[in-house]
Symmetry: C3
């Protein structure tokens, strides 16, 4: 089996795993820069997002990449985390027809008009104008609220078709998203 | 668009993203303390949890906050991870009626009394008293087993209504949960 | 309540939480090695995986453990992240009958033969040989695309029955998986 290594991944030591589960190192050359013991940098940014639909997707991959570049992180990782109980994250293809399919799946699986105790606003200790959004909370629970993604040689190490997608599940609203970068900077090389 | 920054977030450089997906830096003042290259500290704690119901929720946010304070982490992040195959995590609102709705959703979506191969205990290489809990495993798979959350200015950077919730899915049992804090301490400022 | 601490966990400061939600420190002895401020190491590896079924599971826990050992990480954490839009991760029991149950659950919950807009290949800007795999994307969204797991005293801190499982959802294909280790090495002790 020949390891297919992209330019991005050229410095990584590949393992090969076959369908019987055995693995062998495919390339024992170590990435000296990555393995060096260096000091680390932390940069945290708050992304401010205004949604204008009830369920809406935002591809935030460009913003994560901008923060990697701004912070000068060469080897490290990004942590992205939702800051609301009715927003979520997932990593998938940002293709409009697929995103509609996902919306349809979520709406069939967690119907907004089912009976939910959380929607009995008058029985809860909360303002009467509180939205009836139990389905939005449950949809968020089915998706992710945080993702950690490696940064290798200054680039976010995701696949060609992957985007980091922020989902509004109870819009329109003003929202925020945490993007944190941790790692070594160029000057540590 | 005016960036709404909380006191917690006052040191962050906000990006603004609108519904067309374009983004602009809202505030170019950098947080020097956060961006400084400093050494890092790792503190790992094991939270011991005794459940007494079959499906039970625990808000562990206070415990995570206590460990941040004890460790003195100012800028960094928390990793919380489940250590069992029938427990899980999610970040959402710790509101009792919503938690009942989530329980109902999980029980309808993954019924305990469906036919599961894993529940044919006599066909597996395991003790005969092994519980018939395939549905608990599948519920856990639908939720999270790890979450990463930034710590900014000594505070867990989650939203006002968010709690980090540990879920027992096959109790009552004695359980444990990993809480790890990584970051810079006050004395590095 | 007596804290049950394994050898692995002997250096951790346990909290005890009971079902009323109150917690108390069970052991205030701190792990000096873990808490020491030391420099950190980052090691990123690309695991190369060849699937030969449409939906297939791979237990990648041994590979993660091999990288911990190779990197010499004593205290830190592993980040594992999917690099494809139709692969996923979850942490659960690698038991063949349970894995069949999970497959059945996914296939019932997200049927391959439902109507999906993403499967109208002729209406999309993509090659005509593109697979009709909307269900694979939605299954991936329901599972995880990244997991973060602590490393304590040189060992991956997961439970006895937990495995880190990579899932092919649209095979057979050649796939890759990111495994990243961050932490302190033995020589920092």
């Amino acid at each position: 089996m020949i390891a297919m290594k992209s330019v991005l991944m050229q410095s990584l030591w590949d393992f090969v795993i076959n369908s019987s589960g055995r693995s062998t190192p495919a390339d024992t050359e170590r990435n000296r820069a990555t393995d060096a013991i260096t000091e680390m940098k932390i940069v945290t940014r708050l992304l401010d997002i205004q949604s204008n639909e009830q369920l809406q997707y935002f591809d935030v991959t460009p913003q994560v990449r901008a923060i990697i570049e701004e912070a000068g992180i060469v080897d490290g990782f990004a942590i992205v985390s939702s800051r609301h109980t009715t927003t979520a994250l997932f990593v998938n293809e940002y293709e409009q027809r697929l995103l509609q399919d996902i919306k349809g799946f979520l709406q069939r699986t967690v119907p907004a008009d089912s009976a939910y105790l959380h929607n009995d606003i008058h029985l809860r200790d909360c303002p009467p104008e509180e939205p009836e959004n139990a389905h939005s909370h449950i949809m968020a629970m089915l998706m992710s609220s945080s993702e950690a993604i490696p940064v290798v040689d200054g680039a976010l190490s995701i696949g060609q078709w992957q985007s980091l997608i922020f989902v509004e599940l109870d819009g329109p609203r003003r929202r925020s998203l945490n993007i944190q970068l941790i790692g070594n900077t160029a000057k540590n090389q």
